[in-house]
Symmetry: D2
Subunit: 284 residues, 4 copies
Amino acid sequence: GNRGRILLKCPDQPGIVAAVSQFLFSHGANIIESSQYSSDPSGGTFFLRIEFDCPDFAGRLAEMRTEFESAAAPFKMEWKITSVTELKKTAIFVSKEPHCLLELLWAWQSGDIVADLAIVISNHENCRKIVESLGIPFYHIPASKENRQEAEEKQQQLLLQYEIELIILARYMQILTKKFTAAHPNRIINIHHSFLPAFVGARPYERAYERGVKLIGATSHYVTDELDEGPIIEQDIERVTHHDHVDDLKRIGRSIERSVLSRAVKWHLEDRILTDGNKTVVFS
Amino acid sequence: GNRGRILLKCPDQPGIVAAVSQFLFSHGANIIESSQYSSDPSGGTFFLRIEFDCPDFAGRLAEMRTEFESAAAPFKMEWKITSVTELKKTAIFVSKEPHCLLELLWAWQSGDIVADLAIVISNHENCRKIVESLGIPFYHIPASKENRQEAEEKQQQLLLQYEIELIILARYMQILTKKFTAAHPNRIINIHHSFLPAFVGARPYERAYERGVKLIGATSHYVTDELDEGPIIEQDIERVTHHDHVDDLKRIGRSIERSVLSRAVKWHLEDRILTDGNKTVVFS
Amino acid sequence: GNRGRILLKCPDQPGIVAAVSQFLFSHGANIIESSQYSSDPSGGTFFLRIEFDCPDFAGRLAEMRTEFESAAAPFKMEWKITSVTELKKTAIFVSKEPHCLLELLWAWQSGDIVADLAIVISNHENCRKIVESLGIPFYHIPASKENRQEAEEKQQQLLLQYEIELIILARYMQILTKKFTAAHPNRIINIHHSFLPAFVGARPYERAYERGVKLIGATSHYVTDELDEGPIIEQDIERVTHHDHVDDLKRIGRSIERSVLSRAVKWHLEDRILTDGNKTVVFS
Amino acid sequence: GNRGRILLKCPDQPGIVAAVSQFLFSHGANIIESSQYSSDPSGGTFFLRIEFDCPDFAGRLAEMRTEFESAAAPFKMEWKITSVTELKKTAIFVSKEPHCLLELLWAWQSGDIVADLAIVISNHENCRKIVESLGIPFYHIPASKENRQEAEEKQQQLLLQYEIELIILARYMQILTKKFTAAHPNRIINIHHSFLPAFVGARPYERAYERGVKLIGATSHYVTDELDEGPIIEQDIERVTHHDHVDDLKRIGRSIERSVLSRAVKWHLEDRILTDGNKTVVFS
């Protein structure tokens, strides 16, 4: 209960670490893990993530936030201080293929992923049973090109009602409107079933097969208003051969998709990702 | 000296393996290694590679070729029978960056790559010393956008003179004309410094950095008249992070390029690659 | 229903492939996939796996087996001809940790693994619900050092009753007696949670942590009467760092174990594995 | 010329980062890269590596060292401050197989490895030419079981004469005495041609072949007085199959050995490795 995190970014200059570590020390906090990165020591952006233990952290949190504002202002920091015990309210969107959803549920049950898994929303019914068996509310919202706006309004209502902070697209095969994506900047994580920027868009395994690639991959990224163009969080690949037809690529790919999405979600939930323009800084 | 290889492709139908293996058995040959692939058992193409030991193979080779033509005709086979001891006459093209050339020379010296390494052609002088120290003729042919045709004529003359069967572009940074590539179908192997089809064309590491990918790669492929669009032979990747700037990507990439090109060249020299339209069948 | 497989091994000599392919051709069979290996062309063992389509295969199978015996005898072949539609009766043994079981069940449901999944046997109750929800009989047989013989007798009875052909130890944490392992040669597949032969025996992740390795792994192998010494089928690894404590190694390891065991089981079920003394020939 | 590094370890307690970052800030230094690790926040050891830019660093270095002593004492730090421009005097030991030496020379020439490469010592003559062609002194010191002590005395003399700070065993196949290893704690880097702790000792590829493993590896470690038991710095593996005989394993292995040793050496030269008992903390 005494574990907290500071995340910040600001223009790089001398003295940032000294200021933050002095602040923590003054609260009796012990730094457990610290990672930093500067995009360019001369005129670039500085990124910092610190995980710390602080006696009576819950009692002190409000005060620390107020006080940190004074330390942060001269450095023009964007920052947040979070408590490890405040779980992020999370929604999973899924279509028919259940493998990414199942992996997330399994990781969540086994404690590998720590979140307040609030709801699952699907445009199909087939995953209802497994979701509800775990006590998670399941909402079926039919969605297609034709009713996109209406479907998103229903989704938005649920996201508000459950105070959702993170949306995971676990092979959700509907395109989202700019209105929707703009409402959740860096809060929607998608899994794309190719090694981006190769095979942006539809049917990536079919196109990988046609091109005759020797490796296939998957990419997890934050969703922006440009399809498959958001900041990449994680990617991985597997080797394939001429023996592997489209169905084999899909089978092999499912395994990559599952692990890539899980890692990305885990890192987001542990506040390990900061964005740097259209890139990510991942303190994994 | 008694080791030979049969390579063939033909429309798939029952009886191909029976015919070929009967042929080899009738010559007292023992099959050492055999690999086959059918793009589609109904109406697809069948690919076969057999490595065999045959008593007095050198003495028999001409006769076997004549005789095999009879076995091959009813199946409409494209085929060749080669001797392992007939080394392929090979030319390496290189520009300034020596790492792929050095890797090939090293693999060649240590016996990992078995070829008749006939010449090295470069549009720069800087690799002359190392090449000549190994007793390999080095030709400096200045090449640029301006003198492309003239340079290629000189290159072609050397390729003819040395009866070159394989051209390796070991980071040769000049674009080849359609005339040149058409003259050497499936006989030019290039290394492209990206994971194709991502980052086709120039400056792939710079573009990988800008896109914020988490893996970089290299691709070895046969050269066709469309830039970076030929049949892919081999690909590989390495993991990178936000810490890696363009120079780091280039450094990490050099290592991938070296091993990917070496593997592709080794497979070609061992007659392990057959083309299937714009794809490769690699019996590695 | 017309898809069959021939698997064989015999002393290497010329003419084996000719004989087998002639046999198949005489039955109008088309070879779909063929893989072979010789441990040594002079005096070694020859291994062959052919997958073929044969008109009216079910009707012909008995006759083909009888007839093949004549072809096989002069070559001293150990062989079998199987039908792809005859699924292997399979039992999964599991203890408390469910991840390997869950992966197998998931792969089985999605069609990636094709077997007659007959029973699950566990020395714990915790996996009963998920197993029974899929319509698979679940047997709880308490097992420990003290009642090993009694437990194995009950297990054997079930294996006989269900005519089990493959036993998968999906993180089953009890040691089996020599009597048990001897009764199922090359029919028990285990997953060991280390990169064998490193960390044979108990507590491999703890010992990996203590040794400070930078990669951890898992190994799937056939079970023999020597602990962790049977023929290795498949292995894989993941990178770890000094940040990863024993619990992290276990978490990362679970993911490796799942995929390594799944691949080994898939290959066994597809008759892709032949044993060569204490090694495996895997035609994957 | 203004780039420096602080490396330290000490018992973990609050305030370490605050003290060090305050010290750097007081000298106008900007932190470029910082990595830290605590083996256990309660009672464990804290490790820190900071790379910084400091105006007039060369002029200030002596003063900073004196001053840092006061900051370090209350925390019981083991520490050093180094300048990036002071290259480490390095010796490479090699036997007959040149691949690791060649890789290091190539990385050194291309600037991937930055060291003062002072001498190469070998118990064979075959690498003399390539070494001397780069202007590096080459010493042939015959070494075998019989003359171990005498050979080491000659080696020690050279190491003293050239003020060597790092010894790289680039496939040096002689066993070193305890006297020798004790004289260079955490200053001798070896490459072992297996995935430790598998196949400790001689003939690892032969033993890997006999065991039938599906992956082979290499391990770079600091040398201690127990053979192959020192702190592991880096490991990597490649996949192999039943087709790969001992010679193939050796060929594939050479490639792994080259890259694993290069990475370990690069990290050591960049002060990225701290030891934690018999383990390493690698801030890569």
